[in-house]
């Protein structure tokens, strides 16, 4: 199959943020053995968690619609 090349404008660009050095030291200790390769990766991971929590807020009306369907499917009492 012809696999599309990722366009240049589709590449992720990175910026710089500043953190207090003691915090960086704590993060370096925290990520040992986790598979997270760098302080930047850890910070991205945590921030995505925080932001996805906000993005994941579903309005009540839509939530009720899903719950209604889940009950119909038998997954909820």
């Amino acid at each position: 199959m012809k696999r599309a090349k990722q366009k240049d404008d589709n590449k992720l660009e990175y910026g710089t943020v500043s953190l207090p050095l003691p915090l960086i030291s704590k993060i370096k200790k925290r990520i040992i053995g986790t598979g997270i390769s760098s302080v930047s990766s850890y910070v991205s991971f945590v921030l995505r968690e925080v932001l996805s929590y906000d993005e994941g807020v579903i309005d009540e009306k839509n939530k009720e619609e899903i719950i209604k369907r889940l009950k119909k499917l038998g997954y909820l009492d």
Binding site: M1, I58, N62, I66
Partner: protein, 367 residues
């Protein structure tokens, strides 16, 4: 030069059908021997919404945000192009049956029917067959054979709570019951396919997720934990482009879409990069290790740590190893599947070199 004629596309989701059972069914078992069959297809999620959206988008739900039953509300359409859209743009008539519209994405279907009532399904299928016969175009159709789901809800979900020990003490009985449900699903698929001239079609039959018989306490059927029995599915490709072939290599549900595009010579549009990769090279004999990523977002009443809107158990799986990460307790499990296929012996923190590599693979997805 041979001209490649457009083919009709028939997709059948055999909801919750286990691969080890599918091969023993009277109809599907025979079809397996005439198809390109993958028996180790790992689903992105062991709930239908996450599984379907990943199959139809070719990307995992952590990217599309269709990562739970509530995910259909969060689905980021701009991050992918749905399989249905590719065929719609090729001029196909697109038609679907789904047991619920929170499961199969509605977008780009010319007609979309939701029906869960098994008594009404035969009449619905007759209607859909009539529409296909008279559409005057090539067609792309999806049927959702949900008999196993229906029987499990009737006989397990409504009778046993997830902590009822009785259920987990009758694994053999659960297994026998499940086989009866699978026989019903098999007969439904056979009856359906007898209505088609398959010579002009590409047929893909797959399950969205697996099912457990209750071997692991806390998981009655699927959707609560992240062990293989609930994530392992199959994909069967039948048609002139697919030789008789069988593979037990680990592949993923997200690989189904790029395989179809590959065989139909439809180019990806470059809007997004799919997580899935075509299975055609494997059918042609290439040996390749693929890493499967899965997540679970347990509903209320199905887990000690429910998280219905956001996955809280994550896993990566290779041919021989699996790592699970439980976000709620910040704990890991590691299994050597070559020697422990039932995932009984947790090898985390034993100093194995593979642990770091598996953690790296997992966090590549989570980051």
């Amino acid at each position: 030069m041979l001209i490649k004629m457009p083919k009709n596309i028939i997709l059948i989701t055999a909801d919750a059908l286990r691969p080890d059972v599918a091969v023993h069914l009277p109809f599907l078992g025979k079809l397996v021997s005439k198809s390109s069959f993958f028996s180790n297809v790992f689903s992105y999620q062991n709930n239908s919404t996450g599984a379907f959206y990943s199959i139809f988008s070719g990307i995992y739900g952590n990217k599309s945000e269709a990562n739970s039953y509530f995910g259909s509300l969060n689905f980021k359409k701009d991050r992918c192009k749905l399989l249905t859209q590719y065929f719609k743009e090729q001029g196909y008539f697109t038609l679907a049956h789904s047991m619920s519209d929170i499961i199969l994405p509605r977008e780009h279907f010319d007609a979309y029917y939701c029906e869960l009532d098994e008594e009404k399904i035969p009449a619905l299928y007759d209607r859909m067959l009539y529409e296909l016969k008279h559409c005057g175009k090539n067609f792309f159709v999806h049927f959702h054979v949900a008999l196993i789901h229906t029987r499990i809800i009737e006989n397990v979900a409504k009778k046993f709570k997830y902590k009822d020990k009785e259920y987990y003490e009758q694994v053999e009985k659960n297994k026998e019951n499940y086989f009866q449900y699978a026989l019903e699903a098999d007969a439904r698929i056979q009856h359906l396919l007898e209505q088609f001239d398959l010579r002009s079609c590409i047929l893909v039959i797959y399950s969205d997720h697996g099912t457990t018989y209750g071997e692991k306490f806390g998981e009655r059927f699927y959707g609560s934990l992240c062990y293989d029995d609930t994530l392992r599915t199959f994909a069967l490709f039948y048609g002139a482009d697919f030789p008789a072939f069988c593979s037990d290599l680990v592949v993923r549900g997200v690989d189904i879409m790029p395989t179809l595009l590959d065989v139909m010579n439809i180019e990806e549009d470059g809007k997004t990069i799919m997580d899935g990769k075509s299975l055609v090279p494997l059918i042609k004999g290439k040996k390749e290790e693929r890493v499967a990523f899965s997540e679970v977002a347990p509903l209320q009443g199905s887990s000690d740590y429910p998280s219905p809107k956001k996955p809280n158990i994550h896993a990566v799986r290779t041919n021989y190893w699996k790592l699970l990460f439980y976000r709620s307790t910040n704990t890991y499990e590691l299994y050597d599947l070559k020697n422990d296929s039932h995932e009984d012996k947790n090898l985390i923190n034993r100093g194995l070199a593979v642990e770091g590599e598996m953690k790296r693979l997992l966090h590549k997805h989570l980051d």
